[in-house]
Symmetry: C2
Subunit: 279 residues, 2 copies
């Protein structure tokens, strides 16, 4: 049976989400200027730092005390416990403590704290905070998307030939996956005004939301990378889909965002759709 | 015979360079928020706007009145007149009015006014101003590089496996050039922590200068795209070379910047060195 959440509860969740994002941002910004202790996960390019882990621990401790009956999904907790992800109808706080860990390690400013809240398995609140740049992207379902309080609108671009598309090489070093991703990049360069790569899924979705770039597609990411950003993009008027063109699936490890339905279709037709398995 | 420039003259050139960058920045920032009138040059992805042309005209009018005996090279003047570029020993003001025109057209904030001054065919002053982000990168030969007055230092990374490398798909749509560039991107993704693409040669060099990314290589650019940024990168401690490993050649339409000599060598060994012809 679907869970009902009242308006005043939603408003409270949103306030708490902003509060935890600011707290996380302080820790990230402070650590950004210092030496980083780096470990690797699935590949030599899949990085994690003590800051990722500390921020997630801090955020969950803070939230679990406030909402002991809620569910919580976090990138680092999932990596540590190795548990299968389960998304339920319950209010669920989904965190990527640092989206763009490679950027963080390399002192590249595009690093985000990403926090999405789902109810009935749908994102209702999305917060993506880039503390080094002090950019706070926010969205609540049905209420638009904002950057530091200013309303966002995606670009309106309908023609792939005139679009800039954000895409990523990603952190997998599996030769078959790299080959397919690079084939996609090749097709995108040839078909569009050009590609951009910023190294953060959450920030990429926010860029599409603000019309700084027209579309973004990525394969191999997880729910914590895109659940907040996808709400921000769709609330700014962008289309968010599975790259194949079907409904987006939060567990399918891939997402496409485009300024318009027409642009989304052109991208769906162009790209090789990597099956990354379900979480 | 080499031209001699006195210290007080250099200081004056630097002051004037900052002044013209600020003036250009105002025009760019104002136009950034408005509808753009777009034209194409060598390919459907090689864009120019009335703002590129207006900024170059304004900057040259201002500078030529101050320094009638100096030489001037500008991206849009060169495109309009079709004249062969000639770099002499005279003090030469080299301008890209908007580096990152595709970003400008797509409301992507990484757009620069780039101004380099050469004497005896060597850059002695470099100014790269990103007006939308209010980031002023500056360098004078032998005096270090700065971002809004704060001293810059490149990353010190010596190992390509642990590096982030900035590279671009570029605006050429010649299938052979695209194929080679994408082969390079494929090699870079596989060999490193990852690649980034920001769409502006001048800004890319400044990112290497500040240690936000460890290296950058590009083929197909021109002197106005990299003359200012290369001085900023080298004054921040980075190595600036021709991608092949030989001395950089301002007319050869390609450049490599890396945090360390070792990283530069690894990149030279890895990449296909596209011969783009000389300007």
């Amino acid at each position: 049976m679907p869970v009902e959440v009242l308006d005043h509860q939603l408003r409270e969740y949103y306030t708490v989400a902003l509060e935890v994002a600011r707290k996380a941002g302080e820790v990230i910004k402070d650590a950004f200027k210092k030496e980083k202790t780096i470990d690797t996960k699935s590949s030599a390019a899949d990085l994690v730092t003590v800051t990722d882990q500390a921020v997630e621990k801090m955020a969950f401790a803070f939230l679990k005390e406030k909402y002991p009956s809620h569910k919580f999904i976090g990138e680092e907790t999932t990596a540590e416990t190795g548990e299968k992800l389960q998304l339920t109808d319950d209010p669920t706080w989904i965190i990527d403590p640092i989206d763009g860990t490679t950027n963080f390690v390399h002192s590249i400013p595009e690093v985000c704290f990403s926090l999405g809240i789902t109810v009935n398995k749908e994102p209702i609140i999305g917060v993506v905070y880039l503390p080094v740049l002090d950019q706070m992207y926010t969205a609540q379902k049905g209420q638009g998307a904002f950057l530091n309080g200013e309303k966002l609108k995606s670009s309106g671009q309908t023609d792939l030939k005139k679009a800039v598309v954000i895409c990523e090489g990603g952190s997998s070093r599996d030769p078959d996956i790299v080959e397919k991703k690079l084939t996609n990049i090749h097709r995108l360069v040839t078909a569009s005004h050009g590609i951009r790569s910023y190294g953060s899924a959450a920030a990429n979705l926010c860029r599409v939301a603000q019309g700084a770039g027209d579309a973004y597609a990525e394969y191999g990411i997880h729910i914590w990378d895109f659940v907040a950003g996808m709400l921000i993009a769709s609330e700014a008027g962008a289309v968010v889909k599975d790259p194949s063109g079907s409904e987006v699936d939060l567990m399918s490890r891939r997402v496409l965002a485009a300024a318009t339905p027409s642009l989304a279709t052109q991208l769906s037709d162009l790209l090789i759709h990597l099956d990354m398995g379900r979480d």
